[in-house]
Symmetry: C2
Subunit: 103 residues, 2 copies
C-alpha cells in the first residue's frame, strides 16, 4: 500500500504537476513528456528537500535530450513547515519549476 | 592543501559569488551576509549537483531568519559537462540564484 501511495504522490499531483521523489530521474522526465504529449501547455515540476537537485536534473535532462522546445518559464523557491511523526516542527525548502512549450 | 583549496573555491569565487559545497548551510548564509554588509547590492549563490538543494536552503534561511529585505531576483538552471579523473564525461546540473537588497 505504501508503494502504491508513494507512486501516486511522487509522480503526479493535480493536472499538470510532477512531484519529484526518490525514483530515477528518467521516471520524472517521462511523466513530463506524457503531460506535454497529452496537450498540456505547461508542466510544473515540484520538489522539496534533497529532491530539489533531482528536480533540476529532470528539467535539464528533459530539455537537453527529449524536448528541446521546452523552456523554463518560471522558477520559485520557498519554505514549507513540516511536522515530523514525533511532533517536532522543521522547515524544508521547496522548488517549483514551470515549464512550457516554446511558441 | 586540499582543505585550503576547497575552502577558497567552496565559499567565495569572484566578487559577489557564494559557491555552495558540502559545509553546513549556516556557513554560506554568513558568506552572503558578509557580502551584503560589505556593500554589495547583489549576491549570486551558485551550486551544482547535489549541492543544489543546499543552495536553496541557504537562500531560504537567509531570507527567513537573517535578512528579510533580501529578494530573489533571478534563478537560472543549467548543465555543465564534467570530466572525471578517469577521463569519462558526465553532465551535472547547476543553479545560480541572484539575490538583491529590496529597495
Amino acid at each position: 500500500m505504501a508503494e502504491k501511495e508513494s507512486s501516486q504522490t511522487e509522480t503526479q499531483t493535480g493536472n499538470n504537476t510532477v512531484l519529484i521523489g526518490r525514483k530515477p530521474v528518467m521516471n520524472y522526465v517521462v511523466a513530463c513528456l506524457t503531460f506535454f504529449n497529452a496537450g498540456e501547455e505547461e508542466v510544473v515540476v515540484k520538489a522539496r528537500g534533497r529532491a530539489i537537485s533531482r528536480a533540476v536534473d529532470t528539467v535539464e535532462l528533459l530539455r537537453r535530450a527529449f524536448a528541446k522546445d521546452v523552456i523554463v518559464k518560471k522558477i520559485d523557491i520557498g519554505t514549507e513547515e513540516v511536522i515530523r511523526p514525533e511532533g517536532t516542527k522543521s522547515n524544508v525548502s521547496t522548488i517549483e519549476i514551470t515549464l512550457s512549450k516554446q511558441q
